[in-house]
């Protein structure tokens, strides 16, 4: 779960990281009661990325400019998300802007510290950040990080400030179940102090059972979703909306992506990535069909499941029932295989349904039936 900037900065501050003193407002009317000093930054508080490019950060020199900027950023659309709040911060003048991040990384077997001497938007474009592979939090060694920094950061005094800050970010990540704690830009201010210009924290959703913060962030994100999407998420379906015309109900992220790639190769595009590998109850599949049937962009539905723990004769029975109850005539194409797959053909035959032998054949049918394809 992405936290919004003000939430991320609150967490950073709670472990002793310096952040600019900001004011959070939810409505421009609140500005009447704020004592502000100028210039300041007006920053839309959204959970997604790309805020800067979308005009979500504006410099304002006076109260009138703040008011109009706040109104504007509250009205913007950030990839489907509206800002519910605006953070007003003093516009800092920095000697330098660095990049510092602690994140989970598979190759490190745990956490990695990333540092770049040029922060801000440069990081995406320039040299990749320097890596210090930590692994388990206990294996962090300040002197090892210092050595890694020395290769890219000539300022010895600055290195000595970055090392303890990195330890604090790691402490925060490990103690609060964060998978990413990124400060970009990290300002070096006049006295040599480090101030978090922006902050991106991603929480580990799987740790919600032991973190009220995470449970709340998940609940908030769900509240923002359309009704059917929210109900799919609550039913254990992982859903990523895409912009094609084939509704894909599939099992397992890897297999789903493999099928998406075949759909693309066949000249069409999926309307969503809908992963039901969590082995949902029959109602879960029902919701998936309801959502895809209700979506006018979806022109055919492809069900592709190769089950291991999922026993396929049960899935086949659920499918025959759902097909019987369903009152949409959008074409549905099946390719089911896996545990107890030998029982599928009889179940489907009794219900007048077809099961494709290969995923390529099923994809071809799903694409051809809507007149798509190359």
């Amino acid at each position: 779960m992405f936290l919004r900037e003000f939430e991320a900065k609150h967490l950073l501050q709670s472990v002793g990281v310096t952040v600019p003193g900001g004011t959070l407002i939810r409505d421009p009317a609140e500005l009447d009661e704020c004592a502000l000093s100028y210039p300041l930054a007006v920053k839309a508080q959204v959970a997604g990325g790309g805020r800067g490019k979308a005009g979500g950060v504006v410099r304002a020199e006076d109260p009138a400019a703040v008011r109009s900027a706040a109104r504007r950023v509250l009205s913007l659309d950030f990839e489907g998300e509206r800002a519910e709040a605006v953070l007003l911060e003093p516009w800092l003048t920095a000697e330098r802007e660095l990049y510092l991040c602690v994140a989970v990384d598979g190759r490190a077997g745990g956490y990695v510290v990333l540092y770049a001497p040029q922060g801000g938007v440069e990081v995406e474009a320039g040299q990749p950040p320097t890596r210090y592979d930590v692994g388990s939090p206990n294996d962090f060694r300040g002197h090892e990080l210092r050595d890694v920094l020395a290769a890219v950061e000539p300022d010895a005094a600055l290195r000595e400030s970055v090392v303890p800050l990195a330890r604090q970010l790691l402490h925060l990540a490990a103690s609060r179940d964060c998978v990413t704690v990124e400060i970009n830009p990290l300002f070096v201010v006049e006295d040599g102090g480090l101030v978090a210009g922006d902050a991106k924290i991603i929480l580990d959703e799987w740790a919600a059972f032991r973190s009220a913060d995470i449970a709340e962030a998940i609940a908030r994100a769900r509240r923002g979703e359309p009704d059917l999407v929210r109900r799919c998420l609550e039913a254990g379906l992982m859903l990523v909306p895409l912009d094609g015309d084939i509704g894909l109900i599939s099992g397992g992220a890897g297999m789903t992506m493999a099928v998406m790639d075949l759909i693309a190769e066949a000249g069409s595009r999926p309307a969503c990535f809908l992963d039901c590998s969590a082995n949902p109850a029959p109602q879960g599949y029902g919701l998936a069909f309801a959502m895809l049937d209700a979506d006018p962009r979806v022109r055919s539905i492809l069900v592709s499941i190769f089950g291991g723990a999922t026993q396929m004769e049960r899935v086949a029975r659920v499918m025959t029932r759902l097909m019987a109850e369903r009152d949409s005539d959008k074409p549905v194409v099946f390719r089911l295989n896996g545990t107890n797959a030998h029982q599928i053909d009889d179940i489907f035959a009794a219900a007048g349904l077809d099961n494709h032998a290969t995923i390529e054949a099923a994809v071809a049918t799903a694409v051809n039936v809507i007149g798509g394809g190359a």
Binding site: G49, G50, A103, V104, D105, G106, R107, G109, G110, L114, E124, P128, G135, S136, N138, D139, A174, D177, V179, T180, E182, K200, I202, D204, W206, A207, F209, R210, M238, V240, L242, G252, A253, G254, M255, T256, M257, A258, V259, M260, D261, L262, I263, A264, E265, P270, F273, D275, A278, I305, F306, G307, G308, A309, N337, G338, T339, A341, I359, E360
Partner: protein, 295 residues
Amino acid sequence: MSILLDDTNAIVIQGITGKMGRFSVRDIADYGGRVVAGTSPRRAGAEVEGIPVFADMRTAVGETGADTALVYVPPAGALDAMLEAIDAGCRLVVYPGDGLPVADAIAMRAAARRSGAVVVGPNTPGVISPGKAKLGFMPSFCYRPGSLGVISRSGSLSYEVCHRLSRAGLGQSTVVGIGGDPVKGVNAAEAVAYFHDDPATDAIVYLGEIGGGDEYDLAAYAAQPDAKPVAALVVGRSAPRGRKMGHASALIDARADGHAAKIAALRAAGVCAAETLSQLVPEVERLVQPQAASA
């Protein structure tokens, strides 16, 4: 031979009285695997399909000589269950479940390394050495014995691919699901090393994805002069940038974790890299044919 698992492993199922536990007792036994014990702290003394249930791992291992654990325990208790298996002396522990907090995965990995135990998972169907034993819930009919070592980040995709390989006459020494989570008990680099050392494995098939950096470790292996032949599939060619397609790989290596970059790196290292599922079996055949010809 094979890696990690063969017909000598004596298996204990933690959480044997749950739905998956009961299913696996029979499913593994049907495949010829030796399930010797189960645990359930609240059901000690019971039996499941004739297998005795113990209160804890120390007792289960002590009474039965089990050396391998399959852990069906909800995520909140999974780390403790895995640590218990390791402390009881299990040399191989498979945790198929998903939903394990990554901090717990990190702790699990650190504990395994200290003890010299091997953990496979989380978020994996497990390990199968076709014709010998299985330790997980992959559909048995997809596999046949042979000399390909298969490594997969994804469960369903590995069933699909192994099914295709088996039908093409390309059997497997061992298939290991390293799992879809960022932090893994056995990662790609380690799985490759096991196969490299296994005399029964002639070539390696790797099933990867966009996101993360495991594929670069595979490329690093393949570039070594004494590497075994490697074929790979990377899925996600059509996935849009910046969307989380399954598990998070966050911002790290943002430019490097895309499909094109991975395919290019793998090919530069001499890997026969398939860009889509349909291309994989031909790539594997290309890999093993010259060997068959020279044999």
